[in-house]
């Protein structure tokens, strides 16, 4: 029932978006260009030097596209969780309270935006990488379902981090700069093997911002066979734990809501 409601709201959101076709297409192209140039930046380095600490261009490509696809799912299906600040500042969150559905669900369905560029780019790169691993016998076809699984778990972890950061807005109001740290900077960092970083930074990505569980640790099993399959289970557990914690935190934040005009 809740799901049906959510998709109904998403449909309304898409219909609204399509009223501004020019903007829709343009922002899509822009996002694509940005992502491509970001990827090229890494690709150029790897083309020149072949590998980073034993990680080939394909392996880094795999790390990159898993995190990109997770982010795509998160931002597509929960777009405005990232933009809660806007609703807090304008007081528009008020009107979500008078509807008989969960407030978070309403928020998630606002301004639905299918990140087609990211989706295509991520899928394209990951398929090339997987094809390469398969052709040199590095992996078998089990990689496909496992990859899908970690992308899903990854999107939940990213969603939880995004939600928790936004929820801080109930206390701080302005969280944009903080999001820059917990979302953008963190996602940028885990595109590369965590082994590059000193322990304190590695520690952060395995604990408070557990992005290491999305791509790096599973890749150690899938690509390197350095760890056992249990790491996939650990990723799923971490995703569940993050989701639970962030939802609890969201509830606390909501009851702290002061609305504007205060």
């Amino acid at each position: 029932m809740e799901m049906r409601m959510y998709f109904m709201l998403i449909r309304a959101s898409i219909k609204s978006r399509l009223q501004y076709k020019f903007n829709f297409i343009f922002s899509m192209l822009m996002a694509m260009l940005l992502n491509v140039s970001e990827f090229l930046m890494i690709a150029f380095v790897l083309l020149k030097f072949n590998s980073i600490q034993g990680w080939s261009i394909y392996e880094v490509g795999y790390l990159y596209s898993v995190i990109l696809l997770s982010k795509t799912l998160y931002r597509t299906f929960a777009s405005d969780v990232h933009h809660l600040e806007k609703y807090l500042v304008s007081g528009d969150l008020d009107s979500f309270f008078i509807r008989p559905i969960p407030i978070l669900l309403t928020l998630m369905s606002q301004n639905f935006f299918l990140l087609i560029g990211e989706l295509l780019q991520g899928t394209f790169i990951i398929l090339i990488c997987i094809q390469h691993f398969h052709s040199i016998g590095q992996v078998d076809l089990w990689i496909i379902p496992i990859t899908i699984l970690i992308i899903l778990a990854g999107s939940i972890i990213l969603f939880s981090i995004g939600l928790a950061t936004s929820t801080l807005g109930f206390w701080l109001t302005r969280v944009e700069m903080l999001q820059n740290l917990t979302e953008d900077a963190a996602m940028n960092a885990v595109r590369y093997p965590l082994s590059l970083y000193p322990n304190w930074l590695k520690g952060i990505f395995l604990t408070i911002l557990p992005l290491g569980f999305i791509n790096y640790l599973p890749a150690l099993y899938i690509l390197k066979q350095d760890v056992g399959i249990w790491i996939i289970g650990a990723t799923i557990m971490v995703a569940c734990l993050c989701l639970w914690l962030s939802l609890r935190f969201w509830k606390i934040g909501l009851s702290r809501y002061q609305s504007t005009g205060s």
Binding site: Y20, F97, I98, P100, S255
Partner: protein, 335 residues
């Protein structure tokens, strides 16, 4: 229907520090100014009532409404809507509520009006057939057919208001909250909206709570009025009673044919405000004297040509209430 029992709402506002690293110190500081937006108020609204809820800006009006709808959590006290707590059982309570905010729409901005109604039908899990019937009723009542297929962003303010009111009625709620529904409307649109609200209350038997700055709204619609000032209820009774309680003077302007004479000894219940060659303006209190008596008396002063009477306006009466001495609004508490 609606019960507020000794509700209070305090906002904690961090004290902004000055000087070096002020921003960081503010962030980690535990010093707050406690702003008491609502200081313990209680009231009950019965089924079928049409109540006006008024007060100057910043008096705590919207804070109260937000507590009644479950948007804000009272610091103290309890709200009951049809016996339910709007904060704990928000999703149940809102099914009985229709809420309209004059300043912002709850419709889907970029979509045709009808789409919003379709979404709401699913959202409130309403029976399709019944909703269709209600919607055609509302269409007639509110004249929705003119713009039901137009995107909300292209509606005029008056049309948008009507569309919003219809949206608030779609799930057939027992209680309606209207927050400044006539704000920014022109005279004709205002009149239309008022007519509507009256019908909702009288014919559809809805309980209505209305906040507004427009005293004409109150005068023409409400049976009862609750006045809040500085976070406290300063008046809660019917409007005729309000007229009696405040007892503002009535003003009478009389013009005479030719000369007239006022008696040297003044009647102590009549005050002369202004005097010209042929007219005189006096004020008196209706509780103490009847208009007929005043006229009878003045006939002795000269030959009356014309009279003009000014009853005290509701606006002035409310102002009188607002001007009660204010306690200090903020107190510094270090916690």
């Amino acid at each position: 229907m609606i019960e507020a029992r000794q509700i209070q709402k305090q906002f904690k506002i961090p004290v902004v520090k000055k000087g070096r690293f002020s921003g960081i110190r503010t962030l980690f500081s535990r010093e707050y100014i406690i702003k008491e937006a609502v200081k313990e108020i209680s009231f009950t609204i019965k089924e079928g009532d049409f109540v006006g809820y008024i007060g100057p800006n910043g008096a705590g009006k919207s804070t109260t409404i937000k507590m009644l709808t479950g948007i804000l959590h009272p610091t103290q006290g309890e709200v009951k809507i049809m016996g339910l707590n709007p904060h704990k059982e928000r999703r149940k309570v809102v099914r009985h509520l229709g809420v309209v905010f004059g300043q912002r729409t709850q419709l889907w901005w970029d979509l045709p009006v009808i789409d919003s109604y379709d979404i709401l039908t699913v959202m409130y899990k309403l029976d399709k057939k019944e909703t269709e019937k209600r919607l055609s009723q509302l269409t007639e009542l509110l004249g929705l057919h003119e713009f039901i297929h137009t995107p909300v962003r292209k509606l005029s303010l008056g049309q948008r208001m009507r569309a919003d009111i219809a949206a608030s009625l779609l799930h057939d709620p027992e209680i309606l909250f209207f927050d400044e529904p006539t704000i920014g409307l022109d005279v004709i649109a205002k009149k239309k909206i008022r007519g509507l609200l009256k019908t909702l209350n009288k014919e559809m038997k809805k309980t209505v709570l209305l906040t507004t700055h427009d005293m004409d709204d109150i005068e023409q619609l409400c049976e009862k009025v609750i006045v809040i000032n500085d976070g406290q209820i300063v008046y809660n009774d019917s409007i005729p009673q309000l007229r009696n309680d405040i007892g503002l003077p009535t003003i009478m302007k009389v013009s005479f044919v030719g000369d007239f004479q006022t008696p040297t000894i003044h009647h102590n219940m009549i005050q002369i405000i202004e005097r010209t060659n042929s007219t005189i303006t006096i004020q008196y209190n209706r509780h103490q004297m009847k208009a007929m008596d005043v006229l009878n008396m003045m006939q002795n002063w000269g030959e009356i040509e014309d009279i003009h009477m000014d009853e005290p306006q509701l606006e002035e009466m409310i102002q009188e209430i607002y001007q009660t001495p204010e306690a200090s609004k903020e107190s510094l508490v270090v916690s």
